[in-house]
């Protein structure tokens, strides 16, 4: 036991005196969690909460243009831009402003759209009411002559850099707004044609509304947000990045010759590795605590939502502990197989990035192509994220996370056994 403790203490001393290693272990994940969460939060807000400037070119100067402008101006997250430097914006300039990336969206209302819509709505309302002979001049409006309209197009310019999801979101919102304008217009004509003394207010209340509820266990569940994706995701990424310094640590021992001394001393390699496992497990838990503290206390200071693990903290610690073991197993395997730091460091780093990408750290797995979703099921980071989601978003219990934790433990056992087997084979040649 003393040999194990002394080995762990030696690892602590080595780490404390390796500023580069400490930076990889603590500073880099801290910077990553803040930066990525901020970036993803901004992207999320681009179609949600943040103010989006929209260039509006109203060539119509009629009712439609005014209604669109009014609706856009009243929208809480939209800043309407109709002129620049005191002069109105035309179609060409709007195109140039968007293509240069200065603005992400421009909307061009074509000339005559209001007149055409009015004409069309009046014709259609007259025709419908005429069927029921409800208008004053029943004889003339009952069967108005057939008319055809060429559809007027409202042009939307998008920044080429804008993603498809963003474009679809904005387009859907504008379409909804225009539909509302059309409905309002038809409604007004009906009221006018029917000569009602007062507006019955049929459009005042929405008939169908949505009740958005997150399906989760328990009463006091948390609503998922970008922070709740990023905190567990980057905690796992940081934990798995332990592979790099641990791999370097093992390779250094081989290159320095201390490995010879260790292998000729009356101590099993398992105890030497045990010291590393103990130390790096504690490091993983410190990393986890640091990330949680950042998410709880730093996030609100920089405009992000506070992450509060609440009563789920013990299960989160358990996940971090088991994920740490899986990462350590991988680090030991890489460090055992690699012969130089030039092999272990880049391989370890790139491998962790691949595991992160597959595991859903960068992009959630549910929006991945089907093939990648299947591949993702083999990433230990995916097992870790699944366990965190079960706990954070679904109020899961220890039983709910038993399967992903089991996979992580199995991964640890397999990588450690593989490392020991390779070392024994390599040692005896």
């Amino acid at each position: 036991m003393r040999k194990l403790i002394v080995s762990a203490y030696k690892e602590v001393l080595l780490l404390l005196r390796d500023w580069g290693g400490l930076a990889i272990l603590f500073f880099m994940p801290s910077v990553l969690i803040i930066t990525i969460t901020l970036i993803q939060e901004s992207t999320f807000k681009a179609v949600g909460e943040s103010v989006l400037p929209i260039v509006l070119v109203d060539e119509d100067q009629g009712e439609i243009g005014q209604l669109v402008a009014k609706n856009l101006a009243e929208a809480p997250n939209i800043q309407l831009v109709t002129e620049l430097d005191g002069s109105p914006i035309d179609d060409n300039r709007a195109h140039a402003l968007v293509s240069s990336g200065e603005y992400q969206i421009a909307l061009v209302i074509p000339k005559g759209i209001s007149d055409e819509l009015n004409d069309k709505v009046n014709y259609n309302v007259d025709k419908i009411l005429g069927e029921f002979a409800l208008t004053e001049n029943d004889s003339t409006t009952a069967n108005p002559p057939e008319k055809k309209w060429k559809a007027k197009e409202i042009t939307i310019y998008f920044d080429p850099a804008a993603g498809q999801t963003f474009r679809n979101g904005v387009k859907s919102n504008i379409e909804r707004m225009l539909s509302k304008v059309e409905v309002q217009k038809i409604y007004d004509v009906f009221i006018n044609q029917m000569e009602l003394s007062e507006d019955p207010g049929l459009l005042n209340d929405e008939i169908i509304t949505f009740n958005e509820t997150i399906a989760q266990k328990g009463e006091d569940g948390i609503i998922p947000n970008a922070v709740q994706h990023n905190v567990p995701a980057w905690i796992l990424f940081g934990i798995f990045f332990i592979v790099v310094p641990l791999g370097i640590n093992l390779v250094k021992e081989k290159n320095l010759g201390t490995y010879i001394r260790l292998r000729t001393s009356p101590v099993s390699y398992a105890i030497i590795l045990g010291g590393k496992i103990m130390t790096y497990t504690v490091i993983c838990l410190i990393q986890f605590a640091l990330m949680l503290l950042i998410a709880k206390y730093i996030f609100p200071l920089i405009g992000l939502i506070e992450f509060d693990p609440g009563a789920q903290l013990p299960l989160m610690i358990l996940i971090a502990f088991v994920a740490g073991l899986a990462a350590i197993g991988l680090g030991i395997l890489i460090g055992t197989v690699a012969e130089t730091q030039e092999q272990s460091a880049p391989f370890g780093a790139i491998f962790v990035i691949i595991l992160a990408a597959l595991g859903g750290v960068w992009v959630p797995t549910f929006i991945m192509p089907e093939v990648m979703q299947k591949v993702s099921a083999f990433s230990p980071m995916n097992w870790g994220i699944s366990a965190f989601y079960d706990v954070i978003l679904r109020n899961g219990t220890a039983t709910d996370i038993a399967r992903p934790l089991g996979y992580l433990l199995l991964f640890f056992a397999v990588t450690l056994m593989a490392a020991l087997f390779y070392d024994k084979k390599h040692q005896t040649h």
Partner: protein, 250 residues
């Protein structure tokens, strides 16, 4: 003198190699000897020492330490041997005392006596004032002295030395050789591998010249010199037996 190490028909062929690093090598080392293993590059010295230290397993043959067979009692044997590798086998960011304390602990030495032994050892090699300095700040000679201390803290019965004085200044070399002489006088068996033939001639009580994985000659230094006509030094004997051809292996 009592036999401490016996090697019987030892062969070693590394995986993927068609050449034997050791071939049917037999050897007997007595308690208290300073046994020099000399040979050109690739002769098999390091493989023999690595096998005797329990680091690698032989392809065939048997080894005994006292009456303990290496196959069954590797850990027990390793408890009684000390190894001083050619590399500075120390952690550069740890201090001299921390390195020694760590390696001493692996031999199960009690904490209190180990601390005293570390302090005493560092004083013995002239490094008491540098106990708390990290190894990376040490000169080559200072690192060699700490390297030697790390191999002898547990007072081994047999000490394996691989080029213990390579790349060190005269003063450090003198301290190292004096300490080794002291250990020899206390009864420690020393197995020493080196390319410094002059040093080996004066230091060793017995020498084996190894080439192509086999021992080609074995005896006391003076006996070996006398066995070759016209030879006045061990170097003459060495060249006579192994030839002047370069031995390059990749």
């Amino acid at each position: 003198m009592e036999e401490i190490i016996r090697v019987y028909q030892l062969s070693k062929r590394y995986a993927g190699s068609d050449r034997y690093a050791l071939k049917d090598l037999s050897l007997s080392i007595k308690q208290g000897e300073i046994f020099g293993l000399l040979g050109p590059n690739g002769a098999g010295k390091t493989t023999l020492i690595s096998t005797l230290c329990g680091m690698i397993k032989p392809t065939s043959g048997e080894l005994w330490f006292k009456n303990l067979n290496y196959r069954q009692h590797r850990r027990k044997i390793q408890q009684q041997i000390g190894v001083v590798p050619q590399e500075y086998a120390l952690y550069p960011t740890l201090t001299a005392a921390e390195n020694l304390y760590y390696f001493g602990s692996l031999y199960g030495l009690p904490a209190a006596t180990l601390k005293q032994d570390v302090a005493h050892g560092l004083e013995r090699v002239g490094l008491a004032d540098f106990a708390q300095k990290p190894i990376k700040t040490f000169s080559g000679g200072m690192q060699r002295r700490v390297n030697l201390l790390a191999g002898i803290l547990h007072r081994p019965n047999v000490l394996f030395l691989d080029e213990p004085t390579v790349g060190v200044d005269v003063h450090s070399k003198e301290v190292i050789m004096a300490l080794l002489q002291e250990l020899h006088e206390q009864g420690t068996t020393i197995i020493y591998s080196s390319h410094h033939l002059n040093e080996a001639q004066h230091f060793c009580t017995k020498i084996a010249i190894i080439d192509e994985g086999s021992i080609i000659v074995e005896g006391k230094p003076q006996q070996l010199i006398e066995s070759v006509s016209g030879a006045t030094t061990l170097e003459n004997v060495f060249i006579h037996l192994t030839g002047s051809q370069l031995r390059d292996y990749a």
